[in-house]
């Protein structure tokens, strides 16, 4: 008799555990899909995008929809997987799209002109003096773009829109 009542309690407890676990699992799935395919907050740091972005770190919101439908263009700040180290993600500005002619200074005396090949983009950091970008490793394939930055949260109580 007592065994039956224990079994009843265990059954309801087990059902509650399963329900709660299902809710947590669904939330984690939603979080994963949103972070990878919609919009995600990212911490970016480094001197290459001064004065647009902070040296010590800025939290930015990046959306992952535009680059899939081909809506990334000149002037956008994008997150790009580094062609030199695939485990690092860089934050740079797109300065030229495929077919554009780009001129840049290799050193203060000489400037070089290249045409961006098909399917590639030319990225540069806003702080040209302290940025390792397409001037060093060449045009990067469009497929390396991970997302477009559209919002920056700053330490002061103002939010800057790009």
């Amino acid at each position: 008799m007592r065994l039956l009542s224990y079994m009843g309690q265990w059954k309801s407890a087990a059902k509650e555990v399963l329900d709660r676990t299902a809710i947590v699992a669904k939330f984690l799935c939603l979080l994963h899909v949103t972070n990878n395919y919609l919009c995600s907050p990212t911490l970016v740091y480094g001197p290459s995008m001064l004065p647009t972005l902070n040296l010590t770190g800025d939290v930015v919101l990046a959306e992952h929809v535009s680059h899939r439908i081909g809506k990334v263009g000149t002037g956008d700040v994008v997150l790009v997987r580094s062609p030199v180290d695939p485990r690092r993600i860089l934050t740079k500005r797109v300065v030229g799209m495929e077919g554009d002619t780009v001129s840049f200074y290799v050193d203060p005396m000489y400037s070089q002109t290249t045409v961006v090949p098909k399917g590639h983009v030319w990225i540069q950091g806003d702080n040209t003096y302290a940025s390792s970008d397409s001037r060093h490793f060449g045009s990067v394939p469009y497929g390396l773009i991970q997302g477009k930055v559209f919002f920056r949260e700053s330490n002061e109580l103002r939010i800057t829109r790009f």
Partner: protein, 131 residues
């Protein structure tokens, strides 16, 4: 990639393969891995080829009918199709950044008579890796 995949052209069914994405955590690949990657000239297309050389390796190619030896730059890899007669691969568009790789092919899952592991085949005579 004949005869590894689709051994007979114009067959009724194309091969279906299993692509694993755990390799994208560390981007560590081995010589002879078959990988799926975004085409460097059109980001909407995906290609499937074999990695022949990894960053830092020297690979022998034939460029404009004379032999050439290239060093694969840091962060890039050299991919080639198994069917060298008709394959658009690194021999035309050069080494590709490892960031374009979207997964590694491990098994063929369809059609049933071809279910099995995809082997790692490595042409050792063309690649030398001095580190």
């Amino acid at each position: 990639m004949s005869p590894t995949f689709n051994p007979r052209a114009r067959n009724f069914t194309d091969d279906y393969v299993l692509v694993e994405k755990f390799c994208l955590k560390k981007y560590e690949f081995s010589h002879g891995d078959v990988v799926v990657f975004c085409s460097p000239s059109n980001h909407k297309e995906k290609h499937i080829k074999r990695i022949i050389a990894l960053p830092g390796d020297w690979i022998g190619t034939t460029h404009n009918s004379h032999d050439d030896v290239l060093k694969v730059p840091k962060g890039h890899c050299w991919v080639e199709g198994d069917n060298s007669a008709s394959s658009m691969d690194s021999r035309s568009f050069g080494p590709i950044p490892l960031g374009l790789v979207k997964g590694r092919v491990t098994h063929v899952v369809w059609p049933p008579q071809r279910i099995g592991l995809v082997e790692r085949v490595f042409p050792q005579e063309r690649v030398s890796s001095f580190k």
